[in-house]
């Protein structure tokens, strides 16, 4: 490990069901049993509403209404209330062992928020934190966060709206916070911003914020990769020209 920075493996899952992502997260959580094996799972989900450990506010009849809209419904052991995941939303599940970083859940959630704020600023969007966990642009949430931490191993993570169809959120009170809205990078930029375009920026912000190194899932012996620099710069140049 160069310079003592933890090594995090980027795993690109593409479009996977929420259940499949849960199963895969568990695989990566279990890997930590034999030593640090940090991973960053990236994916998109088909439309799904999920609830956290505080699931009592969401009885079955309410969830059935959501199913009628054509979405899946799932319960998770994460913190946070009800939220939506769907195409156009970049979902990121860091499976880290906090022993290699800082053994504080509060710190970890702060770092996730700061990572997304840094990403937004690369798009010239002013995002902030608030008393409600997550990342906000004014009164609208651009990124939801809800995590689980067991024996210092993290799972679940963040969901950043890139070009999500925000009307899915009309059917719930997102994260149980009344009177606030949701937004996306596309809505804020007033142009289409795809998940593919955003990923390199997220990875870059993540390495900076967590002071770690990324590696891609081994195709040629797990060669260390420094992502984004060229891709990130060119995307930014395009933005400036707009």
């Amino acid at each position: 490990m160069r310079g003592g920075q933890p090594l995090v493996e980027v795993v690109r899952l593409g479009l996977v069901s929420y259940q499949e992502a849960l199963r895969l997260q568990q695989v990566y959580v279990n890997r930590h049993r034999s030593g640090p094996a940090h991973a960053l799972l990236l994916c998109e989900h088909p439309p799904v509403y999920t609830t956290g450990i505080r699931h009592k506010p969401y009885p079955e009849p309410l969830l059935d209404q959501l199913r009628l809209l054509g979405a899946d419904v799932a319960r998770a052991n994460r913190g946070g209330l009800i939220t939506f995941h769907g195409p156009g939303q970049l979902v990121c599940y860091p499976v880290l062992n906090l022993c290699s970083f800082k053994k504080s859940v509060r710190w970890y959630v702060d770092q996730l928020e700061q990572t997304v704020i840094a990403l937004c600023s690369r798009f010239a969007i002013r995002a902030t934190t608030s008393p409600h966990t997550g990342v906000w642009v004014g009164d609208n949430k651009i990124c939801a966060i809800g995590i689980h931490c067991g024996r210092y191993i993290t799972s679940h993570g963040l969901a950043l709206n890139c070009c999500t169809d925000l009307s899915w959120f009309d059917h719930i009170v997102p994260c149980g916070i009344e009177g606030k809205g949701v937004t996306s990078l596309s809505a804020e930029l007033r142009r289409h911003a795809s998940v593919e375009e955003v990923v390199p920026h997220l990875l870059h912000a993540f390495t900076q914020q967590f002071n770690c190194q990324l590696t891609e899932a081994a195709q040629d012996g797990g060669e260390s990769l420094t992502p984004v620099t060229s891709a990130g710069t060119s995307a930014l140049t395009n933005l400036k020209d707009n």
Partner: protein
């Protein structure tokens, strides 16, 4: 008794070498010998907190273990907004997950410090989960349980060892 004699010897030595300081040291030593801490009766010991490396504490009271999380843990978590607790009667092995605390949209598991059966859960936490932060050693207690294997207590850290452990983490 023997301790008092030893302390008197010490203070005598001090007075030989450091005449100005001897008064102060002698007073300090005498205070120490009189304080409850050095008397070490079993009743004092049984009320002492024992800690796990997962930052849970357990206090034995009337043969029952009261369980909570330490100040270090509640600070690392942030404001607790929800406590997921087990059922009364649930049997737990040492290190079994028995519940979860939620704070800042993060759900963190709780691990049983001992083997035993849950006898009581702190129902106050349903309405007032913040007690875990505000009063983690008293009103913020989480569960009470029987102690099936008292020898497990010997494997836990006492206050001094736990304080040292926490320092090593920082």
């Amino acid at each position: 008794m023997a301790m008092r004699a030893a302390l008197r010897c010490l203070s005598a030595n001090f007075s030989l070498r450091l005449p100005q300081l001897s008064q102060v040291s002698a007073t300090r030593l005498q205070w120490r010998s009189g304080s409850p801490r050095t008397l070490s009766t079993s009743s004092v010991l049984s009320a002492a907190l024992k800690f796990t490396d997962k930052h849970e504490w357990v206090q034995v009271e009337g043969g029952v273990g009261i369980v909570g999380i330490s100040n270090y843990a509640q600070e690392a978590l942030g404001d607790v907004v929800y406590c997921g607790l087990p059922e009364v009667g649930q049997r737990l092995e040492q290190m079994d997950e028995f519940g979860a605390l939620e704070s800042v949209k993060a759900a963190s598991e709780l691990y049983s410090p001992l083997t035993g059966e849950v006898t009581e859960i702190n129902t106050e936490l349903a309405e007032n989960p913040g007690l875990v932060n505000k009063d983690c050693y008293a009103k913020g207690w989480i569960i009470k349980m029987t102690i099936e294997k008292p020898e497990e207590l010997d494997g836990l850290m006492d206050q001094a060892a736990y304080d040292k452990f926490v320092t090593s983490l920082e």
